[in-house]
Amino acid sequence: MDKRPAALETLAGAPATAATASRWRWLGIFALVLLAAALPFALSNYHVFELTMVMIYAIAVLGLNILTGYNGQISLGHGGFFAVGAYTAAILMHRYGAPYWLTLPPAALIGFALGVLFGLPALRFEGPYLALVTLAMALATPQLLKYFDTWTGGQQGINLVKPVPPPGLGLGRDRWLYYLVFVVLLLAIRIAANMLHGRTGRAWVAIRDHPIAAAAMGIDTARYKTLAFGTSTLFTAVAGALAAIVVGYVSPEGYSIFLSVSFLVGSAVGGIATIGGAIVGGFFIQFVPNLANDISDAAPWAIYGLAMLLFMYTMPRGVVGTLEPWVARLYSSRKTPLLQTADRLPKEG
């Protein structure tokens, strides 16, 4: 079971220079975390809210990256799983009076279970076929939400009571929610990194790069692909629940096909097979539509589309996917970067 590929092993057992590189890396990450923790005190409530949304989208895109980037399964339907998380939180809070923070575990659980259920038939589909199946899910989401209106409030959606920050911290609501989401994001990144850099992640990457060879090495392809689906939708559903809590409102229109496409675009712009790319993607999803609106009132989506084209022309592997090898080269004497070995393999066929 799960024999580690020899090539990866030699790469992981890096020479001493890699240790320095890794120290710099950790310092950089530490500085970023400090900066992110200090930011809310330098910004207005509205900007804090915007950054909170960036982090929520980042969690959702991270989920998509696990599936598409590391396991090679494309999804045009993650907006649907985002909606599942959001409505789980909303229904629990609205109908059952659950405290907001207690809605996250059920959202994660339902997201995971649905993802696994969805992943089972998805095992039979590849490439454009999987895209169609997930696209169907994205299209069906608003229709289903409107149809089961006794639970979902139909067209009107559900208005939620905004959470009250715990007393004694001296934080306003927006700043409190920022820190809540921040902690969940850090946790999500930690979990994702552990999985991706461990045996599970290696199995996923092996399946992505060469399913037959992976199976021949003894990787249970079906199990790992389903696990990738479940893990991915778990992240996205938690992000959806957080969005419902932070925005305080859910309605079918918010979860159209456009949301699913945004996730995919954010993922591609940041870099699909990266963790940091998810944060870049979050920024893109949150800010580029507004920027486009500022640039041109008449045709904002044309500007948004142009931005997508520009990013893909200049950085086809996404911002992080393209820049990471360069940054790694800066503080390492190694000529080849440690990461993204899979990208460099020649394409088969």
Binding site: P121, P128, L139, Q143, S267, A268, G305, P316
Partner: protein
């Protein structure tokens, strides 16, 4: 008797809608076979072509002349899009190319809204609208179906009997060997995009009198065409046509007999996916054989 009549009526109007899906599905399959890429902008390109036809007709040109000019413009436009906008991501990861086509979708939609506004416009139908065959179908449906069939026969003849059609197939099947035989693969790709844009334009012009013309007109059509292409098998042109027709009929029958229009799309898709679970490469598609 009455029920039977209604049922046949639904089948025929499904065929009319299906032949439009079939055209667009064929455009998708052509591009997929050549470049392994689903062109999500295909519907919006068709919408834009339809606006060009609409402008020409409004300027006083006779319908068929306007239609012909639209085809030429669409063909050139498709070629330019491939050479200028798609070529930079030719060797990039597939997802980058997919994102570029999604970007094009947004650009076309937004620019059309900007130029022509989002107001819904009437579009003239080239075919009169009279019931025929004991009110089983209308002359318009008949015209749309007949027109699509003629176009398909022409296309198959083109790919089967003309040197350039054969060269295009060679370029799609094995670019490296085709290049060694002296075929200009890049140019063939561009012609393929041009042809696809042209087929899309006919789909747009045929559907506009029914759906009315607005920048979001082709959204639903593209989705059904995509479903049709995959149902038939994304690598098979015949499959695209059959798949498109089946999707058209299914959509109509589900809407009439099974469930209110609210969940029509959901149920239609559930049925298509059910078929695909048993035939994962589509009805006519061939399984991809991989070398280890």
């Amino acid at each position: 008797m009455h029920l039977m009549h209604q049922f046949l009526q639904q089948i025929f109007s499904g065929l009319a809608a299906g032949s439009i899906y079939a055209s667009l599905a064929l455009a998708l399959v052509m591009i997929y076979r050549a470049t392994d890429l689903v062109n999500f902008a295909q519907g919006e390109m068709a919408m834009f072509s339809t606006y060009i036809a609409w402008t020409l007709v409004n300027a006083g040109l006779p319908f068929w002349l306007a239609f012909f000019i639209t085809l030429v413009v669409s063909f050139l436009g498709g070629m330019i899009i491939e050479r200028v906008l798609i070529r930079p991501v030719e060797n990039a990861p597939v997802l980058a190319a997919v994102v570029v086509t999604i970007g094009l979708l947004l650009i076309f939609n937004s620019v059309a809204g900007w130029i022509y506004s989002y107001t819904v416009q009437d579009f003239p139908s080239p075919f009169p609208d009279r019931p025929v065959f004991g009110a089983l179908m209308t002359t318009r449906d008949l015209g749309v179906i007949g027109f699509t069939l003629v176009m398909l026969v022409l296309l198959f003849a083109f790919f089967r009997y003309t040197p350039i059609g054969l060269a295009m197939r060679a370029a799609a099947q094995n670019p490296a060997s085709a290049r060694l035989c002296g075929i200009r693969v890049g140019r063939m790709l561009a012609i393929g995009w041009g042809l696809a844009a042209m087929i899309g334009a006919t789909a747009g012009v045929m559907v506009a009198p029914v759906l009315f013309l607005d920048p979001n007109m082709m959204g639903g059509v593209l989705i059904y065409a995509f479903a049709g292409a995959l149902l038939g098998g994304i690598t098979s042109p015949i499959g695209a046509v059959v798949g498109g027709l089946i999707v058209g009929i299914t959509e109509n029958l589900v809407g009439t007999y099974l469930i209110a229009s609210q969940l029509k799309l959901t149920v239609a898709f559930a049925l298509i996916i059910l078929v695909l679970v048993f035939r994962p490469n589509g009805l006519f598609g061939t399984a991809i054989v991989r070398r280890v």
